[in-house]
């Protein structure tokens, strides 16, 4: 693994983002807007806002990075740039790491801004540190990236890639404990929620909000999912077809 090629890839992806200010703006404005709506929807029940907003701070980066990654890698496949790169001296690991660092940086800035808006003007109370919150958000972003990378190999067009969002992420959202605590779900769904990565990120975010509980278990499992999806994603980057 050569750091030079990883960093070249990271800075290439960041340049691509820089040339697309609209996407950059949407990445930040959309979550802030949704947070604001959430605040006023639950105006009568501020404790519900507390609870949901916390989880949403983990959901946004995952959602956005899932979408961006699946479309970006699909573009690399269809435009021929991926095939072009894979015959050059870059390894799949370097390629994926380049993406992970670039989108990790993007997720970092996204969550700094969104969480500051939520904590500041929207009055979200965070008992834990904002830094931990941002760390969890970046982990979630990487999770979204890894799932997006893996899923994009099943899509032939950008149209299909986008359609994977409701299939892959919405069930996770319903079962993650965002809407109802996982403990109260029927046996099978409760069981199923243990195998869904979003469950652990929602759990970690709630712990940051309450400022209590250990992250070890959540981080461990998020790490496992991350490695699993990244490895599967790497296997879908085929040199030969």
């Amino acid at each position: 693994m050569k750091a030079k090629r990883v960093l070249a890839t990271t800075s290439r992806i960041l340049s691509q983002l820089r040339h697309d200010p609209r996407t950059l703006a949407l990445m930040v404005v959309a979550p802030c807007l949704l947070m604001t709506i959430l605040k006023y929807v639950y105006q009568a029940q501020p404790q519900v806002f507390q609870h949901t907003a916390a989880a949403m701070l983990g959901v946004f980066p995952m959602l956005v990075m899932f979408l961006i990654t699946s479309v970006a890698t699909l573009r690399e496949r269809t435009s021929g740039t991926l095939e072009r790169l894979l015959i050059l001296p870059i390894t799949k690991g370097e390629f994926i790491l380049g993406y992970a660092i670039a989108f990790g940086i993007a997720a970092f800035f996204q969550s700094v801004i969104v969480s500051s808006v939520a904590i500041g003007p929207l009055g979200l109370k965070v008992a834990g540190s904002q830094l931990t919150l941002i760390f969890v958000a970046v982990l979630d972003a990487l999770l979204g990236l890894s799932i997006g990378l893996f899923v994009s190999s099943f899509a032939k067009t950008e149209f299909q890639a986008v359609q994977f969002l409701p299939v892959v992420l919405l069930p996770q959202l319903l079962l993650s404990g965002l809407l109802a605590p996982v403990e109260t779900m029927p046996g099978f769904f409760h069981f199923l929620s243990h195998f869904l990565p979003l469950t652990y990120s929602v759990d970690a975010m709630k712990k940051v909000m309450m400022g209590q509980g250990s992250f070890a278990h959540d981080f461990e499992l998020i790490g496992v999912f991350l490695v699993l999806f990244l490895a599967s994603g790497a296997m879908t980057l085929k040199r030969k077809s």
Binding site: R5, S15, S79, R84
Partner: protein, 235 residues
């Protein structure tokens, strides 16, 4: 002197369709070899097999003494795909810089190639705003980075200004004189004369092979277009 590329008994099947039934082909080292044939004749499939992205079902391909697709070849082949494989949301210069950093070549070589391919005016322009010919030139420039030993160019002169086309052919020959091997495809028969060596291709099979003069003699015609037609008729 050994050939740069030696293909023996290659068969390529894709989605149940036989694209190349059985192909033997040699690309002489240090020459400009043209692969001519109508679209669908298998030119791109042959190129993809040589660079190692197309799986072959039978036969063997040796490239610069190594098996096609081996790690040792990764910085020795420059490949220009038919549709320009560049990042449309990057500028010309950013595209070239990225590929050069992956190859480990220097900044100077990026500047040299921008001069060589006459992209100076488009340097800071986003690739998505370039014309088709300009995009093709950026892609060609990325293929030339790192001065690879073997250049595989899939229709490099399509849609280019005739003057630039002449310049590029001069450049191709200059590279061949430096010892590089060039394999160039075209469906334009009038470009055939610019190659040292020609292989005519139709439906995945070699129709004829030789110098332009040899092919003329074989088909008894002076126009390349007629050479192709006569040879198809003779089969």
């Amino acid at each position: 002197m050994t050939s740069a590329v030696v293909i023996k008994g290659m068969k390529v099947v894709r989605d149940g369709k036989i694209l190349i039934p059985k192909l033997d082909l040699e690309v002489p080292r240090g020459k400009v070899m043209g692969l001519l044939g109508p679209s669908g004749s298998g030119k791109t499939t042959i190129f993809r097999s040589i660079v190692g992205v197309q799986a072959i079902s039978e036969g063997s391909i040796q490239v610069l003494g190594l098996e096609a697709g081996t790690i040792g070849l990764r910085n020795k082949i420059g490949y220009l795909t038919q549709s320009a494989s560049i990042y449309s949301d990057l500028t010309c210069e950013e595209n070239l810089k990225y590929f050069s950093r992956i190859l480990g070549t220097t900044e100077i070589s990026v500047n040299e190639i921008i001069e060589l391919i006459d992209l100076g005016a488009n340097r800071k322009q986003l690739a998505s705003t370039l014309s088709g010919g300009e995009r093709a030139r950026v892609a060609l420039a990325t293929a030339l980075l790192g001065s690879p030993e073997l250049l595989i160019l899939d229709e490099p002169t399509v849609g280019l200004d005739p003057l630039l086309r002449i310049d590029l052919w001069k450049l191709f020959h200059r590279l061949a004189q430096q010892g590089k091997t060039l394999l160039i495809s075209s469906h334009v028969m009038d470009e055939a004369d610019r190659c040292d060596h020609l292989t005519l291709l139709r439906e995945g099979k070699v129709l004829a092979s030789g110098t332009p003069a040899e092919l003329r003699a074989q088909a008894n015609s002076s126009e390349m277009e007629d050479v192709f037609i006569n040879l198809v008729g003779a089969k």
